[in-house]
Amino acid sequence: MAVRDYLRERFFPHMWCPGCGHGTILGALLRAVESLGLKKSEMVMVSGIGCSSRISGYVDFHTLHTLHGRALAFATGVKLSRPEVKLMVPMGDGDALAIGGNHFIHAARRNIDMTAIVMNNRIYGMTGGQYSPLTGYGALATTAPYRNIDHGFDVVTLASAAGATFVARTTAYHVQQAKDILQKAIAHKGFSVVEILSQCPTYFGRKNRMGSAVDMLRWFKENTTKIGSKAKAENPDLIERGIFVEKQLPEYCSEYDKVLERAQSGGS
């Protein structure tokens, strides 16, 4: 199936600004789905609220557009009640880790089989550029006119500590890597987290004088490196890209089958 066939074309033009990284992530995601040979009707996408969450409108899957921060909670109900579907949950950084932070760590802890994609543009795009839990110390935002004094989360460390069994990071510049990682994350059985750095030229870029979308993409190229590279050893400030965690642990829905068995055989 061609990538195009996964889109709901009647829903276009999309709402993203020119140069926004979210569309690139959609492209990588669809190529990953295509490479896995998945059918549209096996795929469920649950999203919250934000520019990133609008991605669910554009794909011709079973799509559930929910509340700000709550996508993983809705997704848990969908997956546990219909375990056979392939479930992906794209989220903004605010959606996933501010308002939705609690659901994020608990979904990871349960190791329920779904792919959480954190489309990290370090800003609240939809509401016009306020600081998020990933904006980082010293950056500017419409609600941090004197520079942000909040420290950001490290999504990879957080997800790993919370128990996610697949954790990876890449950027909207590294589209081939994004596709490869997403492909592995979707195929992984358990809770997978993929952080993808995305550019918001309209707010984060403009506020922080990062230049155009192209300049922001160049920033991703120049400020990231492969996990464990020599460059990282020389320059510890570089952000690592790649797969940080990939392990097999009992998955929640499979474990629930054991609960059913025990309940029905009268055991405990």
Binding site: V44, H62, T76, L80, R82, L260
Partner: protein
């Protein structure tokens, strides 16, 4: 006692009713005085192949049941005051996206953490207006365990019939008190099952295109039809729309589907109402005390009766007005500052003959309390 006769708490009667109705997915978070509902379902549901999950909070709980309802299951969550406050955004989502679900609120004293282990009926208006935006909601209650069972079954039936969340407003006394419950045989109470679409696989299905009778057939999410669901105003495809015509049409539909059926949704019970000159209007555990007073005064020749409301929202205004037409005094017995009182005043022809008999200290209002207030109303002093 035969197998289907039990001596149970009200919370267990609710569980039995839910299982009878076909509940097969529950998500919740512990809170007094509703916790027994979750505890009982954690053991009962898996025995019949259903799913129970304890979520990280009440927000997650209501979101999880909405997701599970969409995939084709009968779902429920249970909570009390603070948890019900957290559920309001999810409740609005279920109203907007028209997703059947049942939300139990075993009321305790509020506001805030309030009076966790004591009774109150303080969440009646919250059930009506707790979530933002103009909307309609169905809320039901009952005053004894047999009725708790039956009204719980009814809640599932109404949720499926109108594709809407239904709130069950019980209270601490009902939830924890033990009483006899006879479980009806299967089939004795009719069940409303999900209305599934007849649209074939491969043919476009419109999740929000009503049939001629106004009902919206569903297709299990993740199944044969692909469609979008959103909490934004949406068209018949479920796609977001801010078109004024679409917005107006959808909001009107959401309100009309409930309010045009006010009488069909109204559940109530009448005691000694034929010739009553003084009428108690009450509901939930306070209706027990009101009934006690009626049964005490009747043999003493007092023409007094009780109208027990089981449907609180939509408020059965027409029925209340009709039943109270000949009353000299209408006394609303409730455990709050007059939440149903105001509805009754609005409904009847002579609002100045409507009085409040209430108690708000976390103690069940007693027959003596009610009789004393009645004497004051009658100008006799206590």
């Amino acid at each position: 006692m035969s197998d289907n006769v039990k001596f149970v708490q009200g919370n267990e009667a609710c569980v039995e009713g839910a299982l009878y109705a076909g509940l097969n997915f529950f998500a919740g978070y512990p809170i007094t005085p509703s916790t027994e509902v979750a505890e009982a379902l954690s053991s009962r549901l898996p025995q019949k192949g259903g799913k129970f999950i304890q979520m990280e909070d009440e927000i997650a709980s209501i979101c999880a049941i909405i997701g599970a309802s969409l995939t084709g299951h009968k779902v429920m969550t249970a909570t009390s005051g603070p948890g019900f406050s957290l559920m309001q955004e999810g409740l609005g989502y279920a109203i907007m996206a028209e997703i059947p679900c049942v939300i139990v609120n075993v009321q305790r004293g509020g506001p805030s953490t309030g009076n966790p282990t004591h009774v109150s009926q303080g969440d009646i208006n919250q059930a009506r207006w707790g979530t933002h935006g103009d909307h309609a909601v169905i809320a039901l209650t009952a005053s004894n365990h047999q009725d708790v069972f039956a009204i719980t079954v009814d809640a599932f039936n109404l949720a499926e019939t109108y594709r809407t969340p239904v709130v069950l407003l019980f209270d601490e006394v009902l939830g924890h008190m033990r009483e006899k419950l006879t479980i009806p045989d299967p089939g004795q109470i009719p069940l409303v099952e999900r209305l599934w679409t007849s649209v074939k696989e491969g043919v476009d299905y419109h999740p929000y295109l009503p049939r001629e009778d106004g009902r919206l057939p569903m297709s299990d999410f993740g199944g044969v039809h692909r469609y979008n669901v959103t909490g934004l105003f949406h068209d018949m495809w479920g796609f977001p729309s801010a078109d004024p015509g679409v917005v107006h049409g959808l909001l009107r539909h959401l309100v009309d589907k409930i309010y045009n059926n006010e009488n069909a949704i109204a559940r109530y019970k009448e005691y000694y109402m034929e010739d009553a000159r003084t009428i108690f209007i009450s509901y939930g555990s306070s209706a027990r005390s009101a009934l006690h007073v009626v049964e005490y005064l009747r043999p003493r020749g007092v023409p007094i009766g009780l109208l027990e409301l089981q449907t609180l929202w939509p408020f059965p205004s027409r029925i209340v007005r009709e039943k109270c037409a000949d009353a000299q005094a209408v006394v609303v017995v409730e455990m709050n500052m007059g939440q149903i009182l105001n509805e009754v005043k609005t409904a009847v022809d002579r609002p100045d003959s409507v009085y409040l008999a209430n108690r708000i200290d976390g103690t069940l209002i007693t027959p003596t309390d009610i009789r004393n207030i009645l004497r004051v109303i009658q100008g006799k002093g206590v």
